[in-house]
């Protein structure tokens, strides 16, 4: 089945889209549960959002999964903006994903994205310099050199997995650099990233919680060694050194260190990885946009923003109401949890013109929700854009045709909207 959120016009896909839309239309509103990962595996969640935006944009949703239970789905751009910019009402302290764990459960990781001011601001400031202009400038050449090397060694005229050979390889290299992590061990970062977002309750193939925590403890012990090597020498410009020396982070307990590592690993890895794959797929599905790009490579910059909107690699962020409040005409109760569905807001026609079309030269391409807004806005957004920009510059320089050879395999998660496989072939 062709990806449903993608604009495609073959007769076959038109029938499938109509069928998927009809299935969603037949459901009672109360049955709509966008957090069901099945809608992400088969990429039909877009029809659920389409209906919610029109009929019930602030929607009381119910999940059968214990720990998720009931939550509000916020589906329109402006409502999401309102929630994201009021951390005084909509707190991050109870976590940024819908799953709740029993109090005291180690699985509820402490990390600065899941904190409110002032502690959030203090810890975030410790790692902020990682994206300072001087660092970005240093990495520019490094990213280009690696991108060239990875692209030059790809197989020609045979099918291979773009996710593994390009998206994972490039983002994992970058992440290893940010941590000054031993390059030969860099795939451990990919592994830990996948492990930390795995959830047995929503994905039967995920490891048991005890196994997951045991692996994360191995991650912690590896990174504790790096911390100890760096804490007693002069501060350097890598994330571990910044955490070890930062006034707000140097006294973190082991679990808080673990949580912040998970945050930085997932934030720097899963997101750009899936935009690297999603962009290739979007261009394959929209040959007229590919033709536009080839004719005018200066469109790369606006295309990168459009890819990030189109993919929305993190589909939502969760908030928890600190007090009774009102949103979009609905009464939100204290302690209610809300999902700001960035994926839905990025398809909201009241904020974005022709949102269901992938348009690489659209007006105001940067006005999308994928990085979040407000104090929790993505730290690494400029770096992500830089990596994607260089990737596409070097692709255009080398390859005439990259064909998608089969359907992508999508990750079973309503949080990380991504791909585990995309078979492609470079024809030359």
């Amino acid at each position: 089945m062709k990806p449903a959120i993608t604009a495609v016009n073959t007769p076959e896909s038109t029938t499938q889209i109509a069928a998927a839309r009809a299935r969603v239309a037949a459901l009672d509103l109360s049955q709509l549960n966008p957090a069901d990962p099945q809608g992400f595996v088969d990429d039909t969640v877009g029809y659920v959002f389409e209906r919610l935006r029109h009929e019930d944009p602030v929607h009381r949703s119910h999940s059968p999964v214990p720990g998720i239970d009931s939550y509000w789905s916020i589906t329109r751009y402006q409502d999401i903006m309102q929630v994201d910019t009021r951390p005084d009402i909509y707190s991050s302290e109870s976590g940024i994903t819908l799953m709740d764990f029993p109090p005291g459960d180690d699985q509820q990781l402490k990390m600065f994205i899941a904190m409110d001011p002032p502690k959030h601001d203090e810890q975030r400031r410790a790692v902020n310099p990682i994206v300072a202009p001087a660092n970005l400038k240093n990495w520019h050449d490094l990213i280009r050199e690696r991108t060239c090397r990875v692209l030059d060694t790809l197989p020609r005229n045979e099918t291979f997995d773009w996710v593994d050979k390009v998206s994972i390889e490039l983002t994992t290299y970058m992440l290893a650099t940010l941590f000054d992590f031993p390059l030969d061990d860099r795939r451990l970062l990919t592994y830990w990233s996948d492990i930390s977002t795995a959830n047995k309750l929503t994905n039967p193939d995920a490891p048991e919680p005890e196994v997951r925590m045991a692996e994360l403890r191995k991650m912690l012990s590896y990174f504790t060694r790096l911390w100890n090597e760096r804490v007693n020498v002069a501060p350097r410009s890598d994330l571990v050194s910044m955490l070890a020396h930062g006034p707000a982070t140097r006294n973190m307990g082991p679990l808080e260190y673990m949580g912040n590592l998970v945050l930085l690993i997932v934030g720097g890895n899963d997101t750009t990885r899936n935009s690297m794959t999603g962009g290739l797929l979007a261009l394959d599905n929209n040959p007229q946009e590919m033709a536009k790009l080839r004719a005018n490579p200066t469109l790369i910059e606006s295309m990168v923003s459009e890819i990030i909107r189109w993919q929305t690699p993190l589909a939502y962020m969760r908030r928890t109401a600190l007090a009774d409040t009102e949103l979009g005409g609905k009464q939100i109760g204290k302690d209610d949890k809300l999902a700001m569905w960035y994926l839905s807001g990025n398809r909201d026609e009241s904020a974005i013109a022709e949102p269901d079309r992938f348009i690489i030269d659209r007006a105001k391409p940067r006005q999308h929700l994928s990085f979040g807004f407000g104090i929790h806005r993505c730290v690494g957004n400029r770096l992500a854009e830089l990596q994607l920009k260089i990737l596409w510059e070097e692709i255009l320089r080398r390859f005439e045709v990259i064909e998608v050879m089969g359907e992508p395999i999508r990750v079973r998660s309503s949080f990380v909207r991504g791909f585990s496989k995309l078979p492609v072939r470079i024809r030359c």
Binding site: R125, P129, V131, H368
Partner: protein, 85 residues
């Protein structure tokens, strides 16, 4: 009319205004020239919060979407942080 809107309407590079003027992205960070800082006003509460997150905060940092233009500011000089070049 805010300073951010004036810049984006006239395609001034370096002022992105990703959030459309909601004081929520800090992509319109500017340094207000000392001669103009009084007239440009003081930071709002949400502006202070967002400026907390920028890599190159200075005493004269403002978010251009929170600076409303009027005749008093005719001729104002602002500079951009390096991260927005």
């Amino acid at each position: 009319m805010t300073l951010m809107r004036a810049a984006t309407d006239n395609r001034v590079p370096g002022i992105d205004g990703d959030c459309g003027g909601n004081c929520a992205c800090a992509t319109c960070h500017v340094y207000v020239d000392a001669a103009w800082s009084d007239r440009a006003g003081v930071r709002t509460a949400s502006e202070r919060e967002m400026l907390n997150m920028v890599p190159e905060l200075k005493d004269n940092s403002r978010l251009a979407c929170q600076v409303t233009l009027d005749d008093n500011l005719n001729g104002m000089v602002v500079a951009l942080p390096e991260s927005q070049h």
